[in-house]
């Protein structure tokens, strides 16, 4: 019959696209069963975490930095730019910036130098090299706070094994004071940080060293290059990407130094080893002023973003060359 033949398509149209999809596997599924919807579903926890615990605090820190916001009473009023001018005019910020930069420079040079030495020492397979690699790397698995606590005892004149040694040998009148003067405190902290991180950086450089092919060295050998020439003209240039990575990690890590100074030197002696991040902590929880702490946080964030952008450009250029 002509009417019945026309029937099924009409009914399908009347029931809408959802019913059509269920009865006809060739048609589009409902939106909530598409792969797009499922992708959104699986990405939702990530999006929620990023939104609530990353984007929201990022916006809040900006808002706080523009507000009078005491720790105990919370938001009072907008006061832009008081928090920033207070920081710039105060006598705490610039010493902290200077010290942080000095610490970053000293740490980075020593850390990368020693890590490179370690990597060169263990790059070849020879008897005992596995043990050496593990020994150099082992301090890296500790937490930074644990390592700082360890060295706090290790450096102590009364309990530590090395501070009293020169005195016992008759070389000095007093035990060595590892944390007594600003310079000693800086160098002792650098010593702890190099001990803790050198093995980690060694591993990065080792990965880089082992990606350099044997044939390159073979060619240099045939051309009669000395070991020094080989190192200077082959190893170092080819290791540049790995060295750049260690540089980025060391600079950003050192600029944000906190644990080691909080635990080991407590900012002393005479506030000579207060880093910028330590200042954020002090503004917030000792001066109880979250507004200036937030302003300082924003400044640190901006400095790091600029530095990251510059390093990223530098890295790209070194990739191209």
């Amino acid at each position: 019959m002509p009417t019945r033949a026309a029937d099924p398509p009409t009914r399908a149209r009347a029931a809408g696209p959802k019913a059509a999809a269920r009865t006809d596997p060739g048609r589009r599924p409902p939106w909530w069963r598409t792969r797009t919807a499922k992708g959104i579903g699986y990405a939702t926890p990530t999006a929620a975490f990023v939104a609530v615990l990353f984007v929201l605090p990022l916006l809040l820190v900006g808002r706080m930095s523009a507000s009078d916001w005491p720790l105990l009473t919370g938001y009072q009023s907008l006061n832009l730019p008081d928090n920033y001018t207070e920081l710039a005019d105060g006598d705490l910020l610039w010493p902290a910036v200077r010290f942080t930069l000095l610490y970053t420079a000293v740490t980075t040079v020593l850390l990368i130098g020693i890590a490179l030495l370690l990597a060169l020492l263990v790059q070849e397979a020879r008897p005992g090299v596995g043990f050496l690699r593990t020994a150099y790397f082992l301090p890296s698995v500790l937490g930074l706070a644990s390592a700082s606590l360890l060295f706090w005892g290790f450096y102590s004149p009364s309990a530590g094994p090395i501070a009293a040694l020169p005195q016992r040998l008759g070389l000095t009148d007093e035990p060595v004071s590892f944390l007594g003067t600003p310079t000693a405190a800086l160098l002792s902290t650098v010593g702890l940080v190099v001990w803790k991180f050198a093995g980690f950086y060694m591993l990065i450089l080792l990965v880089g060293l082992q990606s350099i092919g044997h044939d390159v060295y073979e060619a240099a050998r045939i051309d009669g290059a000395s070991r020094r020439q080989t190192f200077r003209h082959i190893t170092l240039p080819l290791l540049r990407p790995s060295l750049a990575l260690t540089l980025v990690l060391s600079v950003t890590g050192s600029l944000l130094a906190f644990d080691q100074f909080f635990v080991l030197t407590k900012g002393g002696p005479d506030n000579s080893t207060v880093t910028v991040v330590q200042l954020i902590y002090r503004e917030a929880f000792q001066r109880l002023d979250l507004g200036t702490a937030a302003a300082l946080s924003v400044l640190v964030l901006l400095a790091l973003l600029i530095l990251n952008a510059a390093q990223f450009r530098g890295l790209r250029r070194s990739d191209e060359s």
């Binding site: 990405a43 999006a47 605090p57 809040l60 309990a159 990965v207």
Partner: protein, 283 residues
């Protein structure tokens, strides 16, 4: 100049056994191991002013057990925070990595970049607003709140790692499951999750070590001393006894903190180095 041994390229499979090399390399190994060994030794050795004043023994550990809320309490806090951080990081990055690797949806690239951008923002600058936010949510002094914060900072590495792990799984494996009538969730649970297990172990290991060792986040977010994780508790322990500083108990605390890290490293060395290489290659 002409050295007695033939000139060798570094990177040759084997090097000769030479004494100066072993003096230097071995000396450095002693330097790196000595503080670790000293710490373990100092935690059991007799020393004046500690709880172990004569003969070797576990006096310093007994002192830790009785300190304030007690070692077991702090260990339990650390364990809760670390395991919760691992669980949250694994769940979020498993689902997220699957979404980024196998699905297309609007905003996908933006969300991925935003997740990686967490790396660009210094940890310390976010802790001040997070302290306020958790306070508003009634989660001050909350181990759960602390774990969520720690998990967020694991997300860039974890999401990146899980995305490349999923991308390395052959598509046919998943498609055959889908053709067999599995939904994508069943395919994820039954087929894909076992295939990305090495990635999960690496992500979990790093999340655990980060949470176990973290200091600044609990310092800022936890003020109730009975909720403190172990690193914070050990650090406050030595600050409290101003007059007589108890180095013995501190080194005992350091040893307790270090042992799980060292064990995990020795057991899971392969995964450790793998995670870290993918991080190094990314640069």
């Amino acid at each position: 100049m002409a050295s007695p041994s033939a000139p060798r390229g570094p990177g040759r499979p084997t090097g000769p056994v030479r004494t100066p090399y072993y003096v230097l390399a071995g000396g450095l190994a002693v330097l790196f191991l000595f503080p670790l060994l000293w710490s373990a030794w100092a935690s059991v050795a007799p020393a004046p002013g500690t709880s172990q004043d004569s003969g070797y023994g576990l006096g310093n550990y007994r002192a830790l057990l009785e300190y304030d809320a007690g070692l077991w309490r702090y260990l339990a806090n650390s364990a809760v925070v670390s395991l919760l951080t691992v669980a949250v990081t694994l769940t979020v990055s498993l689902l997220g990595g699957y979404a980024f690797a196998r699905f297309d949806f609007p905003g996908k690239n933006l969300l991925f970049l935003l997740t990686l951008a967490i790396l660009m923002v210094p940890y310390a600058t976010l802790l001040i607003p997070l302290y306020v936010l958790l306070g508003m949510a009634g989660m001050q002094n909350s181990l759960i709140g602390l774990s969520l914060v720690l998990a967020v900072f694991q997300l860039p590495f974890a999401t990146f790692m899980m995305r490349i792990s999923f991308e390395a799984v052959p598509r046919e494996l998943e498609e055959s499951a889908l053709v067999d009538g599995c939904g994508t969730f069943r395919a994820l649970a039954r087929i894909m999750t076992p295939a990305v297990k090495p990635g999960l172990i690496t992500v979990g290991l790093f999340a655990f070590l980060a949470a176990w060792n973290d200091f600044i986040a609990p310092l800022i977010l936890i003020s109730d001393s009975s909720k403190a994780p172990l690193p914070l508790a050990v650090a406050t322990l030595r600050q409290q006894s101003m007059g007589a500083i108890d180095y013995g108990a501190t080194e005992a605390g350091v040893t307790v903190l270090a042992v799980p890290c060292l064990l995990l490293f020795l057991l899971l060395q392969r995964h450790y180095v793998r995670g870290f290489m993918s991080g190094a290659l990314k640069g």
